[in-house]
Amino acid sequence: MHYLPNVLFAILLIAGFAFFIINFRKIVRNIKLGKPLDRSDQKGKRWKNMALVAFGQSKMIRRPFPAILHFIVYVGFILINVEFLEIIIDGLFGTHRIFSFLGGFYNFLIGSFELLAFLVLLAVIIFWTRRMIIRIPRFWNKEMTRWPKNDALNILYFEMVLMSLFLLMNAADANLQSLNANHYVKAGSYPISQYIAPLLSQDIGSLVILERTVWWLHVIGIFIFLNYLYYSKHLHILSAFPNTYFANLDTVGKLDNLEAVTNEVKMMMDPNADPFATPAEGEEMDIPDKFGASDVQDLNWVQLMNAYTCTECGRCTSVCPANQTGKELSPRAIMMKTRDRLEEVGKNIDKNGEFKDDGKQLLNDYITPEELWACTGCNACVIECPVQIDPLSIIIDLRRYLVMEQSAAPTELNMMMTNIENNGAPWQYNQLDRANWRDES
């Protein structure tokens, strides 16, 4: 009986991490459904980019006020997790505040965690106010209904509860320490919870029950939160790091080159090429099964990782000129729909062992041509994203499918392209007249 809490804790710990790892592997598997893309180059530059953008949150600064709030929550999250290490050891071995031997340094740590927890609580309340009272428009676009809206609120409530539990736990502990309760070592400093402590009972028995209950709730809460990530936009706390490491380091103006097309075009333009020639021995004709993308498997793995990294903050959509003028397009929705479809494909694979055609695809069933054709390719969304997601690349890949596989561009664009094909300009002018402007006065 004496070891029951330790055993229970061990089970919780193992189950919590096991469940997380199972789901995490599903995410990795889903991302790997994407087409290969080599981002193994420029390692130094990539580390630096990750350090700056993910670790240093350099792109958050574009909006200073939320950047400060977010930074508090972020630092709080990382540092308070040091405390979690102690919780794991205490939970497994039945110790209490195992790191208290650190003495003054321990007091400093606990004291600063408390201050951070309080600041995080404050920041999260301001976040909630911005979302629910001030109702900042980017949190209320039409894609932010039902789950996405609840998800955002769940995260805020989770953080509020976890921080409150942490402070309440410390307050009960501080009382127990001052009452010289058995097992409760005198350690830590409690700059915030000292104000909660007087409000609590001064009876050792009920304090122990309170302290233990809150301790367990805190631990269980952390594990629930960990496992919530898989279902949530909050996954960005992990994926932001690989996402920035593998981000596009080129100038954003450059769209990728379709090599398969290059081969075909070069052959078309080469007067000596024999279109009926069989490829030479060992020379693979690299013709893809389709040009562009109609479903998530046609996108590359970085684009799919982008979808799992999107925090639905809506900065992209708030700067999108098409969205600002009431068009159907929202870059955030492009990322959310890509993730939704990818998760659907993942579930399909879980169920059938491999992907069985479900009669659906990313294009049309999730993302409509109307959204795609509203994009001006202005890169505002790409520049704005704090974690370097590239919605534009998905838009272009889907357009490529529409145009090259289905000839389904808007009529005016088809005319533009026919003109370019015939006379080398988007309008119907004779190519021989290209320098006529010289003769006009």
């Binding site: 574009r62 080129d250 100038t251 954003v252 103006g253 450059k254 769209l255 080159n257 379709l258 097309v261 290059t262 075909e264 075009v265 078309m268 333009m269 040009f291 562009g292 700067v319 000129p321 098409a322 600002q324 003028t325 009431g326 068009k327 159907e328 397009l329 109307e370 509203a374 994009c375 001006t376 390719g377 202005c378 890169n379 505002a380 520049i383 272009i396 889907l398 357009r399 490529r400 499918y401 145009v403 090259m404 561009a409 005016e412 664009l413 005319m415 533009m416 392209m417 370019i420 094909e421 080398g424 300009a425 988007p426 309008w427 002018y429 290209r434 320098a435 006529n436 402007w437 006009e440």
Partner: protein, 257 residues
Amino acid sequence: MNAPTMAELAAEGKKPDILFFVGCAGSYDDRAIKITKAFVKILNKANVNFGILGAEETCSGDPAKRAGNEMLFQMQALMNIEAFNMYEVKKIVTASPHAFNTIKNEYPELGGNYEVLHHTQFINELIQEGKLKIEGESFKGKRISFHDPCYLGRANSEYDAPRFLLKQLDVNLVEAKNHKSTATCCGAGGAQMFKDAEKGDREIFEKRTEELTQLQPQVIATACEFCNTMLTDGVKMQEKEGEIEVLDIAELIAKDL
């Protein structure tokens, strides 16, 4: 107007230092032709040894690529690259941020490697090398706001070159709230120039023009043929064409040579 083609120069055994890539709008569109001519005036004034491709130039392919027609884009790009290489072109300048972006960033993977400059960058070079002097003062102290073209600004991080030129003209530069990397698009990029907008509350160019006209500038300066068209339409829509001129930076400079 002295703007020889590469073929004409080659016939005389000459090889110019610079290729001026005029682009489609710059070749055919009445408004954009004025920008082309203003830039040629600058090139002539600075005695730049340059040529154009004329009938041997084809569309840069930018609208095709951004519409999703990679096939058509690459055909155009490879034809241009062939022409560039035939005349052993090393350095290209263009007044179109779209051509600038695609030739600079997207041609190299197709085998076309050149030094590519936007005309605002090139004019800066000319001034810094002392080859070009601004003499007039037509725009001195005038309220002028600058619209950053997406394909020059965000796409290629060039925000300073056009502003440096405005400084040379001693204008009173008034910046819109959304400028440089937060500048609102004019609505013409990504092949939108060639189609009607999707259903919405209003046109993108209306919104952008409003952001600029509320600064009450005398001139809206820009550095892109498409932006120029969109903003000109926007100003007309507000019936402010009598008060506000939409001009390319090259036109401002050319006036004060």
